[in-house]
């Protein structure tokens, strides 16, 4: 009897875990329309101690490292700073709270996945400013978001779209690849925008995509890239930090084109095979918040992107022909001017 009970318990727990891993499904978001829903101006105009919560480690040459660089810029301005690495979903709220308790008056959650926990914490610490480098939780109406949080729903997908254009123009086999790390909204919109970008210039091309489920497993990243090459893929975009470094290694070894993520990753790949990198100026995005706080009325949502330089593309490698570069630059200009609008698409398939 006891045995059957414990088996049943195990089954229930397993199922619980599986549903927790699953996704929330499609949600129609009305981003772009409600820009700068500035909250009522509170006092919160002083900044002394700043802390960042990071989902990974500061040596990933990518997402986390750039946030660390942003924090260093702030430190250089004379502020006291702190950071915690590898803050997973079960620790988020506790880490947020402990920084608030320790007298930090500006706390940053680096990634959209911190939004929910931040909303729960922010209402308890109305004197603290919060900043999330991602979109606001989709299931919370904009007017119910705590007014002391700023969400930078930056348009990483614009960079991913441009990467798609580059990949679509550069592929010879007609097959390009996307390697992602997990299912947060930023990653999903990256993937969808990349596919859109490829299709816009090369409707015949096929996009093979793999989500590795980890941002830390460089060995798995390399095997993933190899599996793609076996299928004839000849350009790969990766957006998965350490796992992505394995992808770059495989491309470098096998002479396949790749596209870098967050920082200029061309130095990690030989022979100019890294065609370009989508750069996200996270350091400036983070350090510029200080001035915004001092201006008063901090909070709400912003949507930075290519037009204000938060998202940009690094210089093309010498493998990119001039006419391709020209075509890509024209598209970048169209996005900047607003002629071409890339709407983030968070759907999973």
């Amino acid at each position: 009897m006891k045995r059957i009970f414990s088996l049943a318990m195990a089954l229930v727990l397993t199922l619980g875990l599986m549903t927790a891993c699953g996704s929330s499904g499609d949600t129609t978001s009305s981003n772009g329309s409600s820009a700068e829903s500035g909250a009522a101006a509170g006092e919160r105009t002083t900044v002394t101690k700043i802390a960042v919560l990071l989902p990974g480690s500061i040596t990933d040459e990518s997402w986390n490292q750039t946030a660390y660089e942003g924090l260093q810029q702030i430190e250089a301005m004379g502020y006291e700073t702190a950071y915690t690495e590898n803050v997973g979903s079960n620790d988020m709220e506790a880490v947020f709270r402990s920084y608030c308790e320790d007298g930090f008056d500006f706390v940053i959650g680096h990634g959209a996945q911190y939004g929910d926990a931040c909303c729960r914490v922010a209402v308890d610490y109305p004197d603290v400013n919060f900043f999330i480098t991602g979109n606001a939780p989709e299931d919370v109406p904009a007017e119910e978001l705590p007014e002391n949080i700023m969400f930078a729903d930056y348009r990483e997908c614009e960079g991913a779209y441009v990467c798609g254009v580059v990949a679509g123009l550069m592929t010879e086999s007609g097959k390009v690849g996307y390697v992602g790390g997990g299912n947060n909204t930023t990653q999903q919109s990256d993937k969808n925008a990349f596919i859109e970008g490829v299709a816009s210039v090369n409707p015949e091309a096929e996009v093979k995509s793999v989500i590795t489920g980890t941002f830390d497993d460089s060995a798995l990243g390399k095997e993933t890239a190899i599996a793609m090459m076996e299928e004839g893929v000849d350009v790969i975009l990766q957006t998965c930090d350490h796992t992505g470094l394995g992808v770059l290694e495989a491309c470098s070894e096998n002479g396949i084109y790749c596209l870098g993520y967050t920082t200029d990753q061309s130095t990690l790949v030989s022979d100019g095979l890294c065609l370009t990198s989508m750069l996200i100026d996270i350091p400036t995005m983070i350090s510029s918040q200080i001035d915004l706080i001092k201006a008063g009325g901090y909070g709400g949502q912003t949507f930075p992107g290519l037009h204000d330089g938060v998202v940009s593309m690094s210089a093309f490698s010498d493998k990119v022909p001039a006419e391709v570069a020209e075509q890509v630059n024209a598209i970048i200009d169209q996005i900047k001017s607003g002629e071409l609008v890339i709407t983030p698409n968070y759907s999973e398939t």
Partner: protein, 315 residues
Amino acid sequence: MNETSLFSAAFLTALFSSGVRQSIPLIYGSVGDTVSERSGVMGISLEGEMLFGAFFAYLFALRSGSLWVGVLMGAVAGMLSSLIVAVWSVLFRQDQSIVGIMFNILATGFTNFLNRMIFGTSNANISIDTFQPIAIPGLSKIPVVGEIFFNQDILAYLSVVLAAAVFFVLRRTKLGLQLGAVGENPRAAQAAGIPVYRVRVLSYMFCGFAAGVAGASLTLSTVGTFTEAISAGRGFICLAIVILSRWNPLTALVASFGFGSIQALQIRLQVQGSALPYQVFVALPYLITVLVLALAGHNIRAPRELGVPFEKESR
């Protein structure tokens, strides 16, 4: 999904070669853990020892310019670090799971610390040339099978040698008998004059040695650089493989290959394109491991004193 390409010879060759490559760290880890579990000590800390191995293998290979120096130093690092766990759990008789978990946390932090101290926050562009595949003359010409099993790098071949050697020692030698006795009934073993503590510490150090090579295979034959937390849970998979293979090193070899191949398969299924959510694929290797354990694991019998600290004086 393109059905025809799924079963073509080229697809299967690529699939299982990737399976072999991905199983190498698992083979070293699970064979090492088999030895230590036979003597009654659980290798919970395998994950951390792999990390130590991976980091020091990379560091020494980079500084000395020799991959072999790297492998050796990785193994030594794994072995020395395992000594911490061995002393705590065998000699001081602390709970093996708690010591192991503590050690894994320490290993993550400590290797990150060393990595940043030595290379700063940027070592990804200091990559080294990895072990290259060696085609075995004759055998590698066999269609499909030759490419899969006889065109791998040296660490792959050595992993098979290690598994076979451990199998032989456990089954056919006095040492193997003593090891088993210590794990089954340490009191009787002690009465028979077998030094229980020494056997347990040494077998655990062997496990650390093997875990070190497992880590070295990640940095020196796969990635060519060290990235933080590179072991990515492989140490825990080894623990499951050891149970699945019923403490038999040759079965562990096969089970590791099975796990690696399913991992290779899930990537390829994603590449082929599917309407299923990616979580299904990512979970596939683990789901199948759980299923196999549930279906085939009804009469698994662990070494009797596995995980139980032995006290010389108690009765």
